[in-house]
């Protein structure tokens, strides 16, 4: 999904996650209607633009937050899942680090790992790759692609990088002024995009 700043992308994601009240429209996941369902029942995990990591927990505790009960102990399998995530997201050496010491990119990786650990039915990513260098981004996208192939969980990702969108998405959404103005396979949406740009240029010239 992409669109200009302030066009409502984050708002739409928060709505899907259940963090904002839905006043109209339908919102379905795997055929289940989500409207009116409280956020913690939806199993839709949202990774926000600047993710809210729990400041009282270290990196590992943040990642494993979702599946620990108040007094929970963890079994071997969960420990293995944690190790795999720490490695996938290149967070191994930071395992025990306090989250306020993390760099911006590190925080985002912890947040994505935390989301995957929660075994969501859908994953929403809000500009999570923006603060990363090209190499890191590629490797994370590969991790997510593998995850998606293994679990079949749909991923909706917001980005400003049209190239990235084109390269990674199976379907593109374009938003403007709070509405989805285009939706479909990447080629098609970008095609529409281009012709619209031409149209608006033409309009400007008419005026001039």
């Amino acid at each position: 999904m992409f669109g200009p700043s302030g066009s409502g992308k984050s708002t739409l994601l928060r709505l899907i996650a259940g963090l904002l009240p839905q006043h109209s429209g339908v919102c379905q996941l795997h055929g289940r209607e989500l409207r009116g369902m409280p956020p913690h029942r939806r199993r839709v995990v949202l990774v926000e633009q600047s993710p809210a990591l729990f400041p009282n927990l270290n990196v590992e505790e943040n990642i494993t937050f979702a599946r620990r009960s108040v007094f929970g102990r963890r079994d071997v399998e969960e420990r293995r899942a944690t190790d795999a995530l720490l490695e996938d997201f290149q967070l191994g050496p930071l395992r025990g680090a306090a989250v306020h010491t993390l760099s911006g990119g590190e925080r985002q990786r912890v947040a994505i790992a935390r989301a995957l650990y929660a075994e969501p039915k859908a994953l929403l990513l809000d500009e999570v790759f923006t603060g990363m260098d090209a190499a890191l981004r590629e490797s994370l996208i590969a991790v997510l692609r593998r995850y998606q192939q293994r679990t079949g969980v749909p991923i909706l990702s917001v980005t400003h990088d049209v190239g990235e969108a084109f390269a990674t998405a199976t379907e593109l959404l374009r938003m403007r002024d709070g509405a989805v103005v285009a939706q479909g396979p990447p080629e098609q949406v970008l095609q529409a995009e281009r012709s619209e740009l031409l149209r608006s240029l033409a309009a400007t010239q008419d005026v001039a």
Binding site: P38, H40, A52, N56, A115
Partner: protein, 220 residues
């Protein structure tokens, strides 16, 4: 002679009251801060009421209201085998009522200032509101929980009106330090009052030092 019995009694009363009140304050704060209903507002106002009632009034109402003249009081007296007045459990009840707002208010204020983004994050991760309260809000509001505990304890140690009205000055049961000090002051025994004051100061300076010099006090 220094009245160690009264000191022990006072500390016992303050500890029991603090523990019980914090256990009570947690669910109350959950409803007050997290339930966005009118009920929460009503409850908060109700919990705040003992604030404005002088301890002598509370003590008087407990004396009369839980005394043998009312049905409630008779039932209680029957259950306990004695009147609530002039007994340690009676002081605990009185202290809890008296200190309730001091346990609830700092904690509620602390919970209220927890950034809602953390609660949102917990919710999308599948954490129920109750679990979010326990695992996210409460740990983040820890300084306020501590303030609640300290103020409640202190408020109970310093309690005088309720004890005077309800206690009956029975050594080992209801004769707390504040009463002992009152008696000493009335009989003009400055030396004995000094001994108590010094003991309290030493004890409390030690306690406060433990509390305030903990290395992890300020999240950086």
């Amino acid at each position: 002679m220094f009245d160690t019995e009264a000191l022990g009694l006072t500390l016992k009363l303050a500890s029991i009251t603090t523990v019980l009140l914090l256990l009570l304050a947690l669910p109350l704060c959950y409803v007050i801060v997290f339930a966005r209903s009118r009920g929460g507002v009503l409850l908060e106002a109700l919990v705040a009421l003992p604030l404005v009632l002088p301890p002598t009034l509370l003590g008087y109402y407990l004396l009369v209201g839980l005394g043998p003249l009312t049905a409630v009081g008779r039932t209680l007296t029957h259950l306990l085998g004695h009147t609530l007045a002039f007994s340690f459990p009676g002081l605990v009840v009185g202290s809890m009522l008296y200190s309730l707002p001091f346990a609830v208010q700092p904690l509620a204020a602390g919970l209220r200032s927890v950034d809602p983004r953390f609660l949102d994050a917990a919710a999308t991760l599948g954490t129920s509101p109750l679990a979010s309260f326990l695992r996210v809000a409460l740990p983040l509001a820890r300084p306020s929980l501590l303030t609640s505990a300290v103020l409640t304890f202190a408020h109970t140690v310093g309690e005088f009106g309720v004890v005077l009205m309800l206690g009956g000055n029975i050594p080992g049961q209801t004769r707390t330090l504040s009463i002992v000090l009152y008696d000493l002051a009335e009989s003009g025994d400055f030396a004995a009052a000094n001994r108590i004051a010094i003991t309290l100061l030493v004890l409390s300076t030690a306690a406060l030092a433990v509390l305030y010099l903990r290395p992890d006090r300020r999240a950086s």
